[in-house]
Amino acid sequence: MIWAKEETLPRAEMDAIQLERLKETAVYIYERVEPYRRKMDEAGVKPEDIKTLQDLGKMPFTYKTDFRENYPDGLFAVDKKEIVRYHASSGTTGKPTVVGYTAQDLDMWMNNVARIACMGGATSEDVAQISFGYGTFTGALGLHGGLEKIGASVIPMSSGNSNKQKMFLQDMGVTLLVATPSYALHLGEILREQGVDPSKDLKVHIGLFGGEGMTEPMRDEMHKVWGEQFVCTQNYGMSELCGPGVSGECTELCGMHINEDWFIPEIIDPETEEVLPPGSAGELVITCLGKEALPLIRYRTGDLTRLMYEPCKCGRTTVRMENLSGRADDMLVIRGVNVFPSQIEEVLFKIDEIGPHYEILVERQNRLDVMTITVELIDDRLLDSYSKLSKLEQNIKGALKSQLGLATHIRLVAPNSLQRFEGKAKRVTDLRKDGL
């Protein structure tokens, strides 16, 4: 099922909608968001300079750092009392990236997620188990609301606790699973170990995956674990743009359809910031249309992809983005959580007993991401007792947990054990190949 007629418009009609909304957005943001108005003034652009869609290229970019510099709500275009919901995601340092929604924004967001759910085959008949972590992240409540919108029955399970996951999957006749693809694989394997064959013993036949990319080898594994009948699609979004609902795969599995009437995509060269011609690979830049609380123009997502404008067999005419091929920056996605090495560094630098050098190792164990951070011990006073050393390890873990919202492994090593770098340090080793 196709949720909205805007998904099937001829290109000329879509262009007309985008242009009208872009003009409105340019006026709106210039009037209401002071930091962006300054950027436009510095670039010498006025809202009335936007006459065609190509004129978008005249507008300045918005960066993740703009959120930090205007923390918590300096980029908001409405008064606090208009906000009905806040969410937050990782910032590049200690402060999170805070986003807000008006009632109308929430409605638009839920409609966009409803489209994504329909693309993945969901209907009002489905019983959906949301196995994303709830909390300030947008994933769980985003899919939750979008699935309710189409009339599906939603179970707000949250992540972890596989015994409870299993019980609800079995007892409630769950037909649709929302999770990160790696957690879905992990859960499926646990079910099999416990003698449950998901393809025979459960009714789950749809997976809506997000929070991290799903590679084709992961999709193949998903069929082995959950059965051939399992239709698994992935969708894309980020809290700055709204959360999930920016784009999603349809069951043709040939790229993620972008909800173009609300999001204008561009592909740029991340180094030169030059807009690249259609079909080129580069960094995805998104302009949000019609958002009240947090209008964003030319947001640098940091995600590398390619756009495909040919209409799809599913009947949708919206542009598709390829599976992400990487990041333009050093952001890591760990268990669906965005992690910047700078966040880790900030925590480590505050701990006196360890030195300034560190290494981050990311690998996948039992389908789940495991991050090990190696640091050098420099304070000999901790050698008085093993418990002091052990306490240091716990302190580092605790500080990282509160900063990142993730459990980490800490390896303490002797001073000068870690490699020293001249110039740009290579501190991250990511051993996850094809996500497996």
Partner: protein, 139 residues
């Protein structure tokens, strides 16, 4: 009253050898040594003949090294003597964090090394019970 050297070591092949090899190069004599099974990293405890020199040398080689006071007790090599010393400490309600013994003593009385948080009290109860506490010069 004797000095103990504690060295941070990772739990991996060769890490103890790196310490002993450095001490050999520095002409330091190891008199007692102990390490315990800990998961990812450990602390190697040693009594050596020149603790300050050993620390300086090891630190220069990149090790994290700590010197602290421990109690060494000379025991007659007779049945029940270790038990007697431990009874004295138990009666004094002194908790022992760890204990180990000297490597070679060339016909001299064995020395037990132990660590406690109640250092002064431990020394007091042992002295009161006429247990001989080893000094650096006795070793």
């Amino acid at each position: 009253m004797i000095k103990q050297l504690s060295v941070f070591v990772e739990n991996k092949p060769g890490s103890l050898m790196q310490v002993t090899s450095a001490l050999t190069d520095a002409h330091i004599n190891i008199r007692a040594i102990a390490s315990f099974d800990t998961p990812e990293f450990g602390i190697l405890r040693m009594v050596v003949d020149k603790p300050a020199e050993a620390k300086a040398y090891l630190t220069g080689k990149g090790f994290v090294v700590r010197i602290h006071d421990v109690i060494g007790v000379e025991l007659k090599d007779e049945k029940g003597n270790l038990n007697r010393m431990l009874s004295i400490l138990a009666e004094g309600a002194i908790n022992i964090n760890y204990i180990y013994s000297f490597v070679i003593r060339e016909n001299r009385a064995p020395v037990m090394v132990f660590n406690t948080d109640d250092y002064e009290k431990a020394a007091k109860v042992l002295e009161e019970a006429n247990v001989k506490i080893a000094e650096e010069t006795d070793l």
